[in-house]
């Protein structure tokens, strides 16, 4: 599964994209796995309410299932326009 990071999430984690192998069933489970991995993930995911997630390029929720999902993206609230 590809994981993408944008804006300050990308900066805290230090890479824009990585590929992981995971058994996580939901976004929340994936986040817990990442947090457990390294301090930089714990820093980026410290406050989930400050983050948004997209699954295969559609906005989604942290309790959404990951079945069949190929690309997960984490980022702060968007500031377009």
């Amino acid at each position: 599964m590809d994981i993408l990071y944008f804006a300050w999430v990308r900066e805290r984690i230090g890479v824009p994209r990585e590929t992981v192998t995971t058994e996580a069933k939901t976004v929340n489970e994936l986040v817990q796995e990442l947090i457990a991995k390294e301090e930089r993930y714990a820093a980026a995911f410290a406050d989930i309410s400050a983050l948004r997630v997209a699954l295969d390029q559609d906005l989604s929720d942290f309790d959404a299932p990951l079945d069949g999902v190929r690309e997960v993206a984490f980022f702060p609230p968007m500031t377009g326009g």
Binding site: A7, A54, Q57, D58, M78, T79, G80, G81
Partner: protein
């Protein structure tokens, strides 16, 4: 419907000239243009705009389609830039045409509200060697409840 996401500047005059050209059934055209605004101290060096290439076009198309489903529109145009922009540069524009003034206005206002909070762009301000990400405002999220 025309959706453009690009790093290069866009030609605002040419875009509005082309938009709605040759349509005698659309009585109203509204455009909104966003410009990089200098900060109060007047020392903003640049605004850096990051986006999520795979998702951006798709998200903008959805927002434009939602507007078209909701109002009586002849056409919708969205142009949004990314990369490094200087104060005074145009970041983005939307245009709507409709037989009716109210529809054109409301749809443009709606597009802007959704572009702000639902299109995957992030802004970073560069000021005298410092850089900081622009925070989303609660009011931007609240604005979506108007629709």
């Amino acid at each position: 419907m025309k959706i453009v996401v690009q790093e290069a500047p866009f030609d605002f005059a040419a875009e509005v000239e082309e938009f709605g050209q040759g349509r005698a059934d659309m009585g109203a055209i509204v455009t909104f243009t966003g410009v990089v605004r200098d900060n109060d101290a007047g020392d903003l060096d640049a605004m850096e705009i990051e986006h999520y290439p795979g998702m951006t076009q798709k998200a903008l198309e959805k927002i434009a389609a939602d507007a078209s489903a909701r109002w009586d529109l002849g056409d919708v145009l969205i142009i949004h830039r990314y990369g490094r922009l200087e104060p005074g540069e145009k970041i983005m524009m939307v245009a709507t045409s409709s037989p009716h003034r109210k529809d054109a206005f409301e749809a443009a206002d709606f597009l802007m509200d959704y572009l702000k909070s639902r299109a995957p762009f992030w802004k970073k301000e560069h000021t005298g060697g410092d850089a900081s990400w622009v925070d989303a405002k609660d009011s931007d999220e609240d604005a979506l409840n108007r629709w």
